[in-house]
């Protein structure tokens, strides 16, 4: 196991608080940077995210070139509010309209690759209540200042007490500790060094994101970690402590469904990589029970687990970004 990685490639957002330096690096390298916010009914938080990030990282420091919202069909005022505060807003179904539409965060992230212009794309969840511009510049720091780093992932303080008046951050949430970490320990021990592999905030170079598949739903983070690790190795990855993030609480059943999708994504990856051979198909229903009037009733959630291919394989994308097949071949060889 490459256990130096944790020490070498783990940063704190304050390592990158000299924003002038980041702007200089961005200019020197002639890079464009896009921020993408995937949304579904986020009217309570979306405006704050756009305003703070626009104020601090566009108006005051020209780090971001665009803020793009890709919406899964919100029924509240998310799109209207985002537009009012100057974001470039798209409905996911209107991007690649000829493809069968799916609904999920992964779908939005994947489609965002087509409509954004940046060489670097930052993905932030749109439900961050305590949004601060460190969420974006913290992730950009390693990408701009370290040439070998191509992908940066967030982790946060989830403080536990370690003695009187002492707190320290620990690992991830329940799904991470009960599902992902055991799986990584069994199959990809290197990846256990990711403190919070499921965090929804990350940034990377376009030429990384365009070459990996995107599961539609919750599995997107798991598959992204595995695919980037498999294709380019651990050293292109970094993780950044972004301090605290106030999460929306999820109940255990919702986390159970999340775990189902993640397990399915994980097992499919293992099959695809030829690392395991499953003798029969996996089922695609998550079954949970509720006690109603002294009777157990099943709640069945059909979760098919669709996946989008690497977007570089989509002709419209190649055309827009002027990539020809020989380039793809060359990149593959590289």
């Amino acid at each position: 196991m490459n256990n130096n990685w944790l020490a070498k490639n783990t940063f704190h957002y304050s390592d990158f608080k000299d924003l002038n330096r980041l702007v200089e690096e961005k200019k020197k390298k002639n890079l464009k940077i896009s921020l993408c916010l995937p949304t579904l009914n986020e009217e309570k938080t979306i405006a704050k995210e756009i305003i703070i990030l626009k104020s601090e990282l566009m108006t005051r420091y020209s780090l971001l070139d665009e803020i793009v919202v890709v919406d899964s069909g919100s029924t509240d005022k998310t799109r209207q509010i985002a537009r009012a505060y100057g974001a470039d807003v798209h409905k996911a179904t209107e991007i690649f309209p000829h493809l069968e539409p799916y609904k999920g965060k992964g779908e939005n992230l994947w489609k965002a690759l087509y409509i954004t212009k940046g060489d670097i794309i930052i993905y932030l969840d749109a439900d961050i209540k305590n949004i601060h511009h460190r969420f974006a510049y913290g992730l950009l720091g390693p990408l701009l200042l370290y040439d070998h780093i191509k992908f940066a992932k967030a982790f946060y303080d989830r403080p536990i007490s370690v003695g009187k008046n002492k707190m320290r951050p620990t690992g991830g949430g329940r799904v991470t500790e009960l599902v992902i970490r055991p799986l990584f320990s069994l199959f990809f021990p290197d990846l256990t060094q990711l403190i919070q592999p499921l965090s929804g905030e990350y940034a990377g170079f376009r030429d990384v994101f365009e070459r990996i598949p995107f599961p539609i739903g919750y599995g997107v983070e798991t598959s992204m970690n595995i695919d980037i690790y498999q294709k380019w190795g651990l050293d292109v990855m970094a993780q950044v402590d972004l301090d605290r993030r106030i999460h929306r609480n999820q109940d255990t059943k919702a986390l159970g469904r999340m775990a189902f999708v993640i397990l399915k994504t994980f097992i499919n990856r293992k099959i695809r990589l030829g690392l395991i051979d499953l003798k029969e198909e996996l089922f695609d229903e998550m079954i949970q029970y509720n006690l109603v009037n002294d009777e157990y009733q099943a709640d069945i959630f059909k979760i098919e687990g669709h996946e989008r291919p690497p977007i570089i394989e989509i002709p419209e994308y190649r055309e827009k970004f002027k990539i020809d097949r020989t380039q793809i071949q060359k990149r593959r060889e590289a």
Binding site: E43, K44, T45, A47, K48, I51, I52, K54, S55, E56, M58, T59, R60, K77, Q80, I81, A84, Y85, G86, K129, N130, H132, R244, I246
Partner: protein, 386 residues
């Protein structure tokens, strides 16, 4: 002055072009808790934001009020102060989350006075955008320990120890747009605490109940005559006590405020309340303590003071109808030190003292333009004439 008045309406759109910066400052300040006496985090943020906007000097005074100074072009002119109190009535020292919608911002402590503080931290960026240069130094201050038991200690210290004369002051409050305060009532806020000893030998039907005793005090206070001229009034604003529905209350406390145009009347009413408290304490054999929480002397500018007249003209030029009422804000400390000052409100809002305090965003830009207008008026010398 008149030239500048003509230009004022056009400034509103210029100020609006900085909306992301202004709203960000309001939200970042507002989401940083600052209960009275625990303003340290917000104070640091206030200074950090001013430093980031390249204010010429950022420091604290001897009482730890954070201040930023935008240097003026004429060092012979005394400084002009723009201030808002940093502390909020919202007691919880925990992260706060504001919600921004299309036309509103909502969150605890927003209107009193995170909005005012956020606007002050935005002024350097606004000066720059409007290409404004003042003759006087502009001192941007977030004063600590203002509310309740704070008793305006921060601003008292700041003004008392400032080493030079002060040309004039603008106090900023979140609401209400159109507010043009130039007088302060005399005021005493007090608390009466009733304590019944728990180890009395007669813990039976004769044990006095602290709540009932305070009720007696309240009834006597309500019987006091308050005068119409000078105006005066007594407000019973807070009460707490007891531990359980079925137990005699051993502790209870009552908060009140006396206000009047005349501080003499305020003191006279306070003496009456003191007599009532002593009498009832004696009759019921309980401990009744009367404590002063805060006090202010009455002070006012005349309506025809050039600062008041010019401020009203600024508001009217912007289409804001000025209205006036007495305030117990930092302005009274300016006035008591013979420094002309007014208090201005920034926008419209509701639920001022509730968790869901909500401000309207759009009128705020006019509210900020009026602050710039009054600053220009003071810088042009309207406070120097008297």
């Amino acid at each position: 002055m008149h030239n500048f008045l003509e230009k004022l309406p056009a400034l509103v759109d210029e100020i609006k072009s900085l909306k992301e910066i202004i709203i960000t400052n309001i939200v970042l300040i507002g989401q940083t808790p600052a209960p009275t006496f625990r303003e340290k985090k917000r104070s640091k943020l206030f200074m950090d934001r001013l430093a980031e906007f390249q204010v010429d000097e950022v420091t604290t005074d001897g009482y730890r009020n954070p201040i930023g100074i935008v240097r003026g072009s004429d060092s012979s002119k005394p400084p002009i102060f723009v201030l808002a109190h940093l502390d909020t009535f919202f007691e919880k020292d925990q992260p706060i989350n504001y919600i921004i919608k299309e036309n509103t911002i909502t969150g605890p402590g927003l209107l009193d006075n995170s909005l005012g503080v956020g606007v002050i931290t935005s002024l350097p960026a606004i000066f720059k955008r409007l290409d404004l240069q003042f003759e006087s130094d502009i001192v941007l201050a977030g004063t600590i320990q203002s509310i309740g038991k704070g008793n305006l200690r921060g601003v008292r210290h700041l003004l008392k120890t400032w080493p030079t004369p002060i040309r004039g002051g603008i106090c900023i409050e979140g609401v209400e747009l159109g507010r043009l305060n130039y007088s302060s009532d005399g005021m005493i806020r007090g608390e009466i605490h009733c304590s019944v000893s728990g180890d009395r030998s007669n813990l039976d039907e004769y044990t006095p109940n602290a709540i009932i005793v305070l009720n007696e005090v309240m009834n006597e206070i309500m019987n006091l005559k308050t005068s119409q001229r000078p105006r005066s009034r007594i407000v019973i604003g807070k009460i707490r006590g007891g531990a359980n529905h079925g137990k005699i209350a051993f502790e209870a406390a009552l908060g009140f405020e006396i206000r009047s145009d005349s501080y003499k009347i305020v003191k006279k009413i306070f003496r009456h309340i003191k007599d009532i408290v002593e009498g009832i304490s004696h009759e019921n054999e309980v401990d009744l303590n009367l404590k002063t929480i805060s006090n202010l002397r009455a002070s006012r500018l005349k309506y025809n003071h050039p600062l008041v007249k010019n401020s009203a003209a600024v508001l009217e030029t912007l289409g804001i109808k000025p209205f006036s009422k007495s305030t117990e804000s930092a302005q009274s400390i300016f006035l008591s030190q013979k420094i002309p000052a007014v208090t201005l409100g920034i926008t419209h809002g509701e639920n001022v003292y509730k968790d869901k305090a909500t401000m309207e965003i759009e009128p705020m830009y006019k509210g900020i333009a009026q602050v710039i207008g009054v600053l220009m008026a003071i810088d042009s010398g309207v406070c120097d004439e008297q």
